[in-house]
Every structure is written in structure tokens, then in C-alpha cells.
Symmetry: C2
DNA sequence: GAACCTAGTTCCATAAAGTGGAACTCCTGG
DNA sequence: CCAGGAGTTCCACTTTATGGAACTAGGTTC
């Protein structure tokens, strides 16, 4: 009768978790009745489970008796555990993107005047990216960096822009134009601007408040990234980045339909 | 045999919640064995419950099989639910402070160049504070404001400091000296500096990373806040602020004991 | 202000789900 | 290759959760 086939005997916990999930993933406080409806549980069961969740600080009630995530969630959020866990939330999205493109996938964030790689999925080919996790790259020459710059998630340092290949953008005006393109298209491209033979495409990851917190990228050798492939890859990259954004609570536009 | 007398029949959920609590409130990943030890549950039970929690995104395992808070917590934290819920976490501390002093309790945060009151517990006396929630007061004249200033959680605006009573500090040098005192003592006092007849004492609330995010205050009419009373009140205020800080993950000093 | 909803909690007999000891499977290190 | 620890799976036992019904608490209507 339930949606999922429960692997083993833990009904009560699973049901409680389902209730909890409804409460936590909702953007607004949830009523008791909505919860019985959403989970299909009997009133008595719902009541007992919610009482247990409340007793354990997993949910709480507002003045109208509606349910909100409890002290345990708030406390976790305040203690900053989230920052270190971005990678964990992102992993499934990276994996999916890696599987569908076969190329090297990276997740990068701003770290001072550079872009730092914090997670990676290796490519399926013999020739491909090495491990970049922990490495920092120039903002103006990398696709991830350009995404961060374009959305104000990183600032260039004062000095002149270092040239790493003959295609590297070093003029401020050119970069500004490129960044405008990044915002318009929804993704950034670094076409041999960081390293000869390397093309990278990156898309922005938004947080609940619409600010960009990271960028998701696909890197491949020029030999495998022709124009048509690039278009498809870019679309997939933007898709997964959007999915991750949504997991972080970003809601691009109020959407119709229940 | 168990530590707590369970009010009603929800053993499995309570046990799962206890495991979850261990995982979430720990600063480091927790091992399976630590969990069995901490909760006193049988290996088989622990295993089953953890599997259920994992399946539902409440915990996850790192590469060494140790347990961390799951996607549900991270996602909640990233979507910014915490900010709106500071009041909820703080409530018990405010209540306790209110009960033990009998006076008006406030929780305030920085809001631009002012201190904004975001929660309040009303005093037990007939004469006392009115509702301040939502009100903003000058940083330099209020105890909450001085705490925020002293710990760099708020900045004064450029202009001159407005005088609201004849005791208001309006000289920058005097204020600077006062703020040094606030840091040294651990609390701030506004002695009729905001309104004649009103004394307020405030203590800082720290976040996990040691930054100050809010201030907790006790306000009373001069008639009830004599010197000795003030000392006791200040101590209680600092205590509760420390308790709240701890709930937000702040650990002033590594603590001994299992 | 009495009758009537609706929302939610408590009761209780039933049976289903959780429990824990023991057996089993994986690792890791000697 | 064997020993020992860590964790999972099995399974008979029984404790614990379940859900319908009764009950309580607010709120609305007439």
C-alpha cells in the first residue's frame, strides 16, 4: 500500500521519518491534518509519532499547533555543520552528471581570490583529469571561477590577470563581456583558457536566497568536446546544478499546480 | 532498566531519536560501537535502527563507516531555516532567565546600524517593559547594542551618536572605553542611557565559530535594580547566554569527561 | 447559549512489528 | 593462515505499535 517496499522491519521509525521529512522539506509550517493526509497514517498513529518526535526535539509546534523542524535541526544549522557537508549533498548530482557525460566532474567554491575544487568525480576514459580536489585555480581562467565571478560569489584580486595559455582572457573589458554572457546563457565555458587542450563548462549552484554558493563543472579534452557535444553537456550540467540548487532550498520561481 | 520512563508506547522511535541525537550533537563523526555504548542498545537493534535512519536521509556514513547527520539536516541548514528559528532555540533560555529574575527579558540582534529585538519574555511585575519585539534601538545607548558593538557583531553608522537621556554616551572615546569594559566583564550595562529609570544588562550569545550573533538582556526599572541585585542578575544573564551559545554549538573550551 | 462541527488525543483488544542472543560474514592485523 | 573485532542477518519470542472508536477541546452557527 505504501510507496516504498520496506526492506526490513522498522515500520514505526520509517513512518516517523516520513512525517519528519514532510515537516522539514516544507517551506511553511505543516498542520496535523496535512500530515495525516500526506502520509496516509491513522490519526492516532500520527499523533503518537509526532508526540515522540516532538519529545525528542525533532519537531516543534508554533502557536497555531503547526509543525516545524525542531531544536535538533536548528542547532545543527547554527553550529555550521552544513558548510562542511555541501559535498555530501552534492555527491548524487555529481555522480549522475559524471555517469551521463563520462567526463570529469568538479564542484568548486570561492576561496579568496581563487576558485577551490571541493569534490570530484573521475572520468570514465583513460585520458582525463587528474585529481583536483583541494587545488585552487585562477578565477578569470576557469569555468568555475567565471561562474563565481559572474554571480558575485567571488571577487578578483587587484593585480593583473595571469596568463596561463594564449587563449586566457587578460583584458578586463573582455572578461566583463564574457561574464555578461555567462549570466545570459546560464553557464560558463573555459576553452583552453586555463590549460591547452582542456575545455570546461560550469553552471551556478544557488542557495535558498538566490546567491551563488558554488559551481558545478564538466571538464574534457578538446578531442572529446566538439561543438554539438558541448551543447548537450552544458545542458546536462545546468540541469544538475539546478537540481542541487533545489536541494539547497532554492526556488527559482513560484510554480503553479499542486 | 532504561534511563527515562517513556510516557507512552513509542520505544522504537525514541531509541532511533536517541541515536540520531548522539550523531547530530557530536562534533565529530560517531562510530557504530560508540553508539551502542552511548545508548546501551543491542548491536542488532542499533544496526536496524541506524539502517532505517540512513535509508531516510537522517544520517549518513563517511568513508570509514562512521555516522554523520544526513541530507535532511544539511538541506535544512542550507535553506536558511535556522535564521528564522533562533528565537525557538532561545525560548527556553529566555523563559528560565525570566522566571529567575522576574524581569523583562529580550533577545536582540544587529540590524544595520541598530539593535533589533526579536524575542521577549514579559516581567512578572505590574510595572515593567512594554512589548519591544520588532523595535530597533540605538546601538550606543542600549545594553544589547553595546554587546553587539563590543564583539564586532554590529557597526555604528557614521553620524554623531544621538542623545536620548542625559546619561547617554555620546563621546566616541567614552564608548570605546565602555566597550572594552563589556568585553572584560562579559556583559554590558545601560544605566538610564536609553530611557530615564530603565536599567538593562546584556550578555553575548556566541555561535559555533566564536562570533557573536545576538545578545540576551534583562531590563528593569531603577527602583528594582539596586547594585547587589544587578550583580546577581548579570551573573544569571551571562549564564543563560552561555547556555544558549552552547546550544548553538559554541564550545569555549574542550571539556573533560566521556 | 445550546447544538453542532472539526481537530486532535487517549483507550484498548488485537496482531504485527520490534527485540536481542546467537550464528554468520567481512575485514584487519599478526 | 588463523585470531579477533566489527557489524549484519536470522529467527523464535513477546513486547510494542496499531487503528477504530470513544472522548475532549475549541470554534462556529443559528
Amino acid at each position: 500500500m505504501s510507496t516504498a517496499g520496506n526492506p526490513s522491519g522498522t515500520q514505526a521509525v520509517d513512518r516517523a521519518a516520513k512525517l519528519l521529512s514532510e515537516v522539514v522539506h516544507s517551506t511553511v509550517p505543516v498542520t496535523f491534518t496535512e500530515l495525516t493526509a500526506a502520509t496516509g497514517l491513522a490519526k492516532s498513529t500520527t499523533s503518537r509519532l509526532l508526540l515522540a518526535l516532538e519529545r525528542n526535539g525533532l519537531v516543534r509546534r508554533d502557536d497555531h499547533g503547526r509543525f516545524l523542524p525542531g531544536e535538533m535541526f536548528v542547532s545543527f544549522a547554527w553550529r555550521g555543520g552544513a558548510d562542511t557537508s555541501l559535498v555530501a549533498v552534492a555527491q548524487p548530482f555529481l555522480d549522475r552528471l559524471g555517469k551521463s557525460t563520462g567526463e570529469t566532474i568538479n564542484l568548486g567554491v570561492a576561496n579568496g581570490p581563487q576558485a577551490e575544487t571541493i569534490a570530484q568525480v573521475d572520468c570514465a576514459y583513460l585520458i582525463g583529469g587528474t585529481n583536483w580536489v583541494g587545488l585552487s585555480v585562477p578565477l578569470h581562467a576557469s569555468a568555475i571561477g567565471k561562474v563565481l565571478l559572474a554571480h558575485g560569489a567571488a571577487q578578483l584580486s587587484a593585480g593583473p590577470m595571469a596568463r596561463t595559455t594564449d587563449k586566457t582572457i587578460t583584458s578586463e573589458a573582455t572578461l566583463r563581456a564574457d561574464l555578461a554572457g555567462v549570466r545570459a546563457r546560464g553557464y560558463a565555458v573555459s576553452d583552453e583558457e586555463l590549460e591547452p587542450g582542456l575545455i570546461t563548462i560550469a553552471a551556478p549552484v544557488f542557495r535558498f536566497d538566490g546567491t551563488v554558493v558554488a559551481a558545478l563543472s564538466v571538464s574534457a579534452p578538446t578531442s572529446r568536446m566538439k561543438r554539438e557535444t558541448a551543447m548537450a553537456v552544458a545542458r546536462r550540467c545546468v540541469e544538475e546544478a539546478a537540481g542541487l540548487s533545489s536541494a539547497l532550498g532554492y526556488r527559482p520561481r513560484a510554480r503553479k499546480g499542486a
